[in-house]
Symmetry: D2
Subunit: 344 residues, 4 copies
């Protein structure tokens, strides 16, 4: 089993993470890197400002970057790390030309016929693919993964659905890498917290409901949960921490919540799938971004401090690696799922 | 009008802040500094590891520190910056000997006959003083101010009481100075968030209800509000940021909430009282600790991002300087109130 | 005595610092704020992303910004906080139209007929002004202050000149504010040090020699000192720390070095002049950026850890506030000197 | 080939790093963990405050800690991560009982008959072992590795010895992990630099000369180099950066310096030995702690910014991982060398 893949938007923070995670991937081989006009024709290794580890992986150094255009891209699957406004233009071109587009961009996430998927949560939403292709007359299709904050939150909510979730409140403490390399000036965040991230609260509040919704008769009916998010940027490099309150329709106790978290099954036989989807830590002061963000190679989320709040509510803290499980790793896992389910 | 004052626990983080804020105070003159046994007899300026600004104020440099014992302390009012376990032993000795003890320690905050006061919120609770003196047979008395996180939260809740508060959820992002100088090792917090502060959530959840409670027939009946706190330490030097959800018993709108915040009156003619108790900022990304913590010389709290949540609920962000309004400044303001109300 | 002044490049990091320092200035009154084309006509308070303190000073909020053009600027003195490439074009236009240009830009610092001045070091270099006006046929003139790192270093070297300086090595640890608001992405500097600042080492190595040089027969002969700088960016908001080795042509001892530092005289009767130009601290671990950068309202430099190295050399640490003494405050002090010496 | 090893001082920052690096080691198997009295009898996994990665390695979790006493320790080699004052007492007891003590402590580094070794620099100093055993009548012996800052500096100086080093100046920017877990309070270092590290400059200035010295007739004659260090703590978790000036007895050029760095040979066939001892980076802004500290699994040092200074001098920047190459990894590499050279 072998597929050629491309990365669109290869030089940005998420693009770099794609390249790092795809190094030595057993199924996917990077054949094309596409970037903005001014980089076309330049070698990746000479052009990128590489910041995710000490060195640009050898395998991509000499790849000459091409245009964001299906004509120049040689791949079965394209991973999109494009900014939303560019994704909106570019991704449909690829999908219509027959490419499978696994996108991390927000552009199409909320479209009715576009699956917004976390494999362990709603792989059945892949059922939208055939509808999308038919609707749009495309030979390929677009599949999206949620916003980083949403993925981490929703992975933790999924196992709690069995208790009947009524409402969710979440206060996030998000890493600077989530804003891209130039997103947060150091003078803005050093010795500081910024209690605002553009569009973030809206994404969390809407995407979660779609993901936890049910696909029936070709349409997703959104989950009937009240969600409220408050998002904050903190001076941390990687790893989003989220402080969550969940109110249920019935009484719950901490032990059943904990064991429910631990039972969320990982998808077997996908190379990027972690052994444990949710790691529950029992220390009084975990999870912490610097210590826990690389759990399961960055693909596990870590839950801790599960506390009873009222009769029918709990609070807990959840952490995930925002550019791995929350971005590049999410798209790659989606693509692996598509392969395993024969959608490619 | 002139009163001699002393600081108990003068060398710690909060003790230093007392000394800084009392420099040039128009009513209070520092006469004694009391500290732990091993510092007794040493000059303050030679012994303290001074960290709150460039230099130890000249006026205290040559004061020789004395024991935590009423015999050696020359003062009308003593400010206590003691750790709780030591405060529990030491403060009653001072109160029984006729001193007015304005304490920042948590030891006696929740005792039935001890006022837990924020001047702009519940100055009527001073009515407990005569009861305390009688109960305990003391010539002096203890008055306490709340925990730093509680003060900031409660100042913001007070004006909202008119709308009928049903429940409050608060996620805090707290500065390292709140833990004292040795409280948070740098290797623990650099590039990190710690989602736990010992005893903090319990203090916020209990103290707030006492402060917002009503004094009637010599007893405080606690406010009937459901409060849930999740506390986090972030890599910020000073300034606690709190993300708050408030649910009311009736419909509210953002404008009435905002104007209610702005109407909270400051206590006139107290030297440490800020012009505005609550500053409401309208920028999309404020308040921020580094930019806003010194508002009103650290005695104002700053509210921003007031948003409608549901019909009968809002969310907002509130910030205050944890060692000024949240600690030393709080005790000093309490002492000023006592003077103005003739309790000294 | 009263002069109208303008700030060119008013919205950037240094421009903001000019506006903050000029609030309530006894001699200078801000009449015009000039900025890039897209800001012209907009009110300063509505346009600036204000980051140096909690609020935009009231006195400038409603000033409508004008073009970088002498025609639209109403002032006796213009302070330039422009980027070097723009300063190169714009500053001569102002000087030729009769304005006194006190510039923080690097564009003209090394020109033969342009004074590069630190008042306490080389006020005699003002003698270049008449030559400049004659050379260029300008009615006004340009006076410059050095790069931030250079100012701090050179202030510490000046008093040591009496011992005969042979060579200087300096390793700098520079604050992020030195790069302007967007200069250092947080993901680049968090948990990191960047051992490179563009053009900085060259500036320190050349500017210092001009400042310490002698004006004779209308020309500056550069100081004959060997200087080598290594510049590093560290995660600190404000305050450049410099670790210095100085080798002399004769034996020295620490006490004479120390007393020499303390004797550097401040210029009397200039409003921005600090009481002490150099503060020598004797603690084993000072100066430190967070504790010492505001010494003398940011206009003093702080020296510490003076140690004998070899017979004829010492090492020490020096710190200064990079955007006050190292930028806006430096230009303002220069302008005050010009007024006091009747050059305006 | 298999040796049982023990770690003395197993719960501290360096002790934890030993345990992390020894996990799965092909030659060494951890059999005993020794710690201070109050931890004796407790399981390592339950007692340690683990901070170097997400989890305590499984292999040590259930080991019950024993006293710092040869009687209770089961090992061929003991690694010492003890504080110096305790090492001074404890290490001789182990050496006299026949243990090989590979120590990271400073206690015995400068003793005449104790080898202070960096394998790639002065493995011939192992010749002191037989002298030490004879002198002291011990069945075992102590071998030490230098201070973290010294190791990184000296590895970079070794290849330059061929050009005749006259003098060295080094300004360090050191990570907080170098001070141990409780060494640097966050309030001291956040938004700050501390220009002092106790004893550090003295260690660098003396240890380097011993290591670069020659063993002849059973004695080390120190290298005849003038070294001057200025040490600074910066807010970085791991990785010491050092800015170095080297003056030679002859002319040098950058290319020969660079190629000399790259030629420093690694010791073949030691499990912890990196492929490249010195990695020379050619980017204008490297090495950087966060990006480069893990080069060669933390066992390579990274050099960059090699610049000509004067005719016969250069400056450069060097970085190494202070708790790997600079501490635990250094001791382990020493022990591997002992095994390879049949000293165990």
């Amino acid at each position: 089993m072998h597929y050629d893949v491309a990365v669109l938007g290869a030089t940005g923070m998420v693009g770099q993470k794609f390249i790092q995670l795809l190094e030595g991937h057993p199924w996917f081989k990077v054949k094309s890197l596409a970037a903005s006009e001014r980089r076309v024709g330049k070698k990746y290794g000479e052009e990128v400002i590489w910041l995710v580890s000490e060195e640009v992986p050898k395998y991509v150094r000499d790849i000459e970057m091409v245009q964001l255009n299906p004509k120049y891209v040689d791949a079965d699957i394209v991973f999109s790390a494009l900014p939303s406004n560019i994704a909106r233009e570019v991704e449909p071109k690829f999908a219509s030309e027959g490419f499978v587009v696994a996108s991390n961009a927000s552009a199409f996430r909320m479209e009715k016929d576009v699956p917004l998927v976390i494999p362990e949560v709603n792989s059945d939403h892949l059922g939208l693919i055939s509808i999308q292709k038919k609707n749009r007359g495309w030979e390929g299709y677009i599949i999206t993964n949620p916003n980083c904050t949403t993925i981490i939150l929703t992975l933790s909510l999924k196992p709690l659905m069995e208790f009947g979730i009524n409402s969710v409140k979440v206060a996030t403490m998000q890493a600077i890498s989530g804003a891209g390399f130039l997103g947060v000036p150091s003078f803005a965040i050093e010795d500081n917290v910024i209690p605002f991230i553009k569009g973030e609260e809206e994404k969390v509040e809407s995407e979660t409901l779609k993901i936890l919704g049910k696909l029936k008769n070709g349409e997703i009916s959104y989950a009937n949960i009240s969600i409220s998010a408050s998002c904050h940027r903190v001076p941390v490099t990687d790893g989003h921490l989220e402080s969550v309150w969940v109110e249920f329709t019935r009484k719950v106790d901490v032990e059943e919540i904990k064991s429910s978290f631990e039972k969320l099954a990982s998808i077997k036989n996908l190379p990027t799938s972690p052994d444990k989807v949710i790691i529950v830590r029992s220390e009084f002061d975990r999870p912490q971004p610097r210590l826990d963000r690389n759990s399961g190679n960055g693909m596990s989320i870590v839950v801790g401090r599960i506390r009873k709040d009222a009769e029918n509510s709990v609070k807990y803290v959840v952490l995930g690696h925002n550019t791995v499980r929350g971005a590049a790793g999410a798209s790659i896992l989606n693509a692996e799922l598509l392969v395993a389910k024969k959608y490619v």
